[in-house]
Amino acid sequence: MADLEIKDLHVRIEEREILRGVDLEINRGEIHALMGPNGSGKSTLANTLLGHPSYEVTQGSIVFKGEDLTDAEPHDRAKAGLFLAFQYPVSIPGVSVANFLRMAINAKRDEPIQVKEFRTQLQHAIELLDVDRAFTSRHLNDGFSGGEKKRAEILQMAMLQPDVAILDETDSGLDIDALRTVAEGVQKLHDEQGLGALIITHYQRILHYVKPEFVHILMDGKIVLEGGVELVERLEREGYDQIRQEVGAGAVAAGDSSV
C-alpha cells in the first residue's frame, strides 16, 4: 500500500466537476511530476489533497499512511505529514517567518520545540535554501518578491519535514536563479529526508533541476498518460495538443467506465 493513495477522486467546485476520477499513488522518497494544460484540474487536485473548504469531494478517497483523510480538516492532514507549497503564497502580516515556523512546528508536537533545537534546524534550512538570516525576521510573505515567497514555501517545507509535499506550480513566475534554488532545495530534501513530492507544473523547466521518477499527465480532470521522465521529453517535443488528440478517445471511454 502506498503512503498516499488517491482513488477515483471526483471533485466539484460550485457545481462544476473539475476532477473526474483521479487515481494516483505516491510514496515517501518518490518524486512525481503532474503536468497538464491550464484548466486541467492540477490546482484543484493540490487544494483538495489538503482539504480546501471550497472543493467538494463527490466520489473517491484520499488515504494517507493507512488513514482516510478524505474528509479531514486541513490541519489534521498537515499533522499527518502532508504539505502544500502554494502557487500563490498568502502574506501574513504581523508574524515573522521564524515565529510562524515555530508555531507550525509546535502545532505538530506535544511539547514545544526547544529554542536551541529550533535554531539549529532553522540554520540548516537557511543554508539549504540560500536565504539571508534577516529573511526569517520579516513578516511572512509580506512584501516578498515572487522568488522570496517561493523560497519561504520551501523553507517551511524543510522545517516541517512532511512525508509527502505537493508543490503547486512552484516554478511559475520564477527567474532561473530562484527556480534553481527552489528545485535544488526540493532535491536535497528528497535526498536527505526522504521527502516524497508531487511537483505540479505547467512547464517542463523545473524538471531540468529535479528529476521525477514518475510523470503523470492530467487533462480534463483525469490522468491520461503515465510514465517515466521520458514523458517530459516527449511533451517538450510534441506539446499538449498532440497528446490530447492521441488520448482523447481513450480518456472519455475510461471516464464512462468508471461511473
Binding site: G94, H139, Q156
Partner: protein, 496 residues
C-alpha cells in the same frame, strides 16, 4: 490600502470645510457634504444650517474639536468647581448623535444610584493582577474616589519630579497646578464632564521638570472594584521643556454585576522640546461600566508625543481624544486600537488638531468587534488657519469578526490653511479564508490561524508601544477576547 492626498490651492480665502464620510473604505471626496462643524465657525460651502430634530436632546449631531482656551482662564479651582456644578445641575444625561446612523446614549445609566467613595484603602486585586511586574519611575493608583497608592523613584523626586494626587498638588504646588489645570479642557459640554469638574477627588498630577529624562514609565491607575461606584478621574501631566518620559495609564475594573461610572478628564501638556510616549490600557471587565472621558494632549514647540490608547472593553465607552500641535515644529504620532465584544458600545472621537505649522501628524488606528458589539471611530484631521506646512495623514483599519457586530470608521478632514497636506485612508477587512487555509496546511487549527491573523492585524500598533511588558499585556488581552468569541467567529465564517 490606498492613500489619497489632498492639497488645497492657494486661492481659497475662507475656511473650507471638507468633511468626508465613508465606511472606512477610502473616500477622498466630499462625502455627503451635509455635515457642518458647529464648533469653530467654519462654513460648509453653501449648505444650509443643520436642522436639529425637536426633542429632549439637542446635543450636537456632529462631533467637533475642543476649541480655544479651556475653562481655566484665570479662574481658581473653587470657581471652576462652582461653575461646573451649575452646569451639572442644569444638564440632562447626554446623548450623542451623528447623521442619524449613530447614537451614544447614557439614558440607561442610573446616575443617582451611584456614589463617589473616598473611603478606600488598599490596591484593588484587579490592579495587582493586571499590571506587569516591571521597573517603573512611579505609580499612582486611585480606587473609586480615593488615591490608595503613590510611589515615586526617590532619585527622580530629588530631581524635582512630582507625582502625587491632584488634590495634594493643589495643596502643595498650587501655583503650578493652577497654571495648567483646565488650560485647554472644558467643564460644561455635558453633564458628566461637568460632574467630573465639580466632584473629582483624588486625581493624579505628574510634573517632569526641564531636561529630566526618565526611561521607565510613570503608571497612573484608575480602578473600580465594585458596582455602584461613580469615579471621577482627573489627571494632569506637565512635561517641562526638554523633558522626556513615558506615561502609562490603566483603567481597570473587577468583573461585577451592576453599574459603575468612570467619567474622566486627562490633560497632558508638553512644553518646548519635550517628548512623551503615552499609552493607555483600558479594560473595564464584564460589569456594566460606563466610561465617558475627555483626553487632551497639547504638544508645544518642537515637542513630540506618541499616544496609543488600547481600548479593550467597557459596557459603554465614549472617548473624546484630542492631540493638538500647539507650537511650531510640534510632531505627533496618534495611534490606537480597540476591540469591542459581547454587547459593548464604543464611541471614539479622535482629533488630530494642528493650531500652527510647520507641524506633523500621523494618525493610525485599528479596531475590531465581536459578538453584538458596536464600535464607531471618527477620526478628524483639523488644520487651523495659519497652520501652514502641516503634513498629516490619518488611517483607520477595521476587521469584521462577527455577523452581528458593527464597526463604523469615519475619517474626516477639516482644513483652513492652504499650504498643507492632509489625507486619509483605510481598509475594512474580514478574515481572509485563504490565509486561514494557508496556515491550516502548516498544521495550525482554525482557531490558531484566526488568532495569528487578528494578532497580526494589531501587531503594527502593539509593537509601537516599545515596551515589552505592556505589549505582552495587550497581546494577552486580545488573545483572551478572541478565545471568548470563538463560536461567533465560526458562525461568521459559515455565513459567508
Amino acid at each position: 490600502m490606498t492613500r489619497s492626498a489632498k492639497r488645497l490651492g492657494p486661492a481659497r480665502l475662507r475656511p473650507v470645510t471638507a468633511v468626508s464620510e465613508s465606511n472606512g473604505a477610502t473616500d477622498d471626496g466630499a462625502g455627503d457634504g451635509a455635515t457642518a462643524n458647529p464648533g469653530n465657525g467654519a462654513v460648509t460651502n453653501g449648505a444650509a444650517p443643520v436642522q436639529m430634530k425637536p426633542g429632549r436632546h439637542r446635543e450636537a449631531t456632529l462631533y467637533h474639536a475642543l476649541h480655544g482656551a479651556g475653562a481655566g482662564d484665570g479662574r481658581t479651582l473653587e470657581q471652576l468647581r462652582e461653575a461646573a456644578l451649575k452646569a451639572y445641575e442644569a444638564a440632562e444625561l447626554p446623548v450623542w448623535r451623528r447623521s442619524g446612523f449613530w447614537t451614544t446614549s447614557l439614558e440607561s445609566l442610573d446616575l443617582d444610584a451611584l456614589a463617589t467613595s473616598v473611603a478606600e484603602s488598599g490596591v484593588p486585586d484587579v490592579v495587582s493582577r493586571t499590571l506587569p511586574d516591571r521597573p517603573r519611575a512611579g505609580r499612582i493608583v486611585q480606587s473609586a474616589g480615593a488615591v490608595v497608592q503613590v510611589q515615586l523613584d526617590e532619585a527622580l523626586a530629588e530631581k524635582g519630579v512630582i507625582l502625587c494626587s491632584l488634590e495634594q498638588a493643589f495643596e502643595q504646588h498650587r501655583e503650578l497646578a493652577s497654571e495648567w489645570y483646565c488650560k485647554r479642557m472644558p467643564i460644561d459640554r455635558n453633564k458628566l464632564e461637568a460632574a467630573n469638574a465639580a466632584f473629582w477627588t483624588g486625581g493624579a498630577f505628574l510634573y517632569v521638570p526641564q531636561g529630566v529624562v526618565v526611561e521607565e514609565p510613570f503608571e497612573i491607575v484608575y480602578a473600580i472594584d465594585r458596582a455602584g461606584v461613580a469615579q471621577y478621574g482627573r489627571t494632569l501631566v506637565v512635561g517641562a521643556p526638554m523633558s522626556d518620559f513615558r506615561v502609562q495609564e490603566y483603567d481597570l475594573a473587577q468583573d461585577f454585576e451592576g453599574q459603575a461610572l468612570h467619567a474622566s478628564a486627562f490633560e497632558l501638556y508638553l512644553q518646548d522640546g519635550a517628548r512623551c510616549r503615552v499609552a493607555q490600557l483600558q479594560d473595564w471587565g464584564s460589569g456594566e461600566v460606563f466610561d465617558v472621558s475627555t483626553r487632551f494632549v497639547g504638544v508645544g514647540r518642537d515637542a513630540y508625543c506618541h499616544w496609543l490608547p488600547a481600548l479593550l472593553g467597557g459596557h459603554l465607552v465614549r472617548q473624546h481624544l484630542e492631540l493638538a500641535v500647539m507650537g511650531k515644529g510640534g510632531d505627533m504620532a496618534f495611534r490606537g486600537l480597540f476591540f469591542a465584544e459581547a454587547h459593548e458600545h464604543l464611541d471614539v472621537f479622535a482629533v488630530d488638531l494642528h493650531e500652527t505649522g510647520p507641524s506633523g501628524g500621523d494618525v493610525h488606528w485599528r479596531g475590531t468587534a465581536t459578538g453584538e458589539s458596536r464600535a464607531s471611530f471618527e477620526g478628524l484631521i483639523q488644520i487651523d488657519p495659519g497652520a501652514q506646512q502641516t503634513h498629516t495623514y490619518l488611517q483607520i483599519h477595521t476587521m469584521m469578526l462577527s455577523p452581528k457586530a458593527r464597526v463604523d470608521a469615519i475619517p474626516s478632514v477639516l482644513v483652513s490653511a492652504d499650504d498643507v497636506s492632509a489625507s486619509h485612508g483605510g481598509t475594512v477587512g474580514e478574515l481572509d479564508e485563504t490565509a486561514i487555509f494557508y496556515m491550516q496546511t502548516r498544521g495550525l487549527d482554525r482557531a490558531a490561524a484566526v488568532k495569528v491573523i487578528v494578532e497580526g492585524f494589531f501587531e503594527p500598533l502593539v509593537a509601537e508601544l516599545q515596551d515589552e511588558a505592556l505589549e505582552e499585556l495587550v497581546r494577552g488581552k486580545v488573545e483572551k477576547k478572541l478565545a471568548a468569541a470563538r463560536d461567533d467567529i465560526e458562525a461568521y465564517a459559515a455565513s459567508r
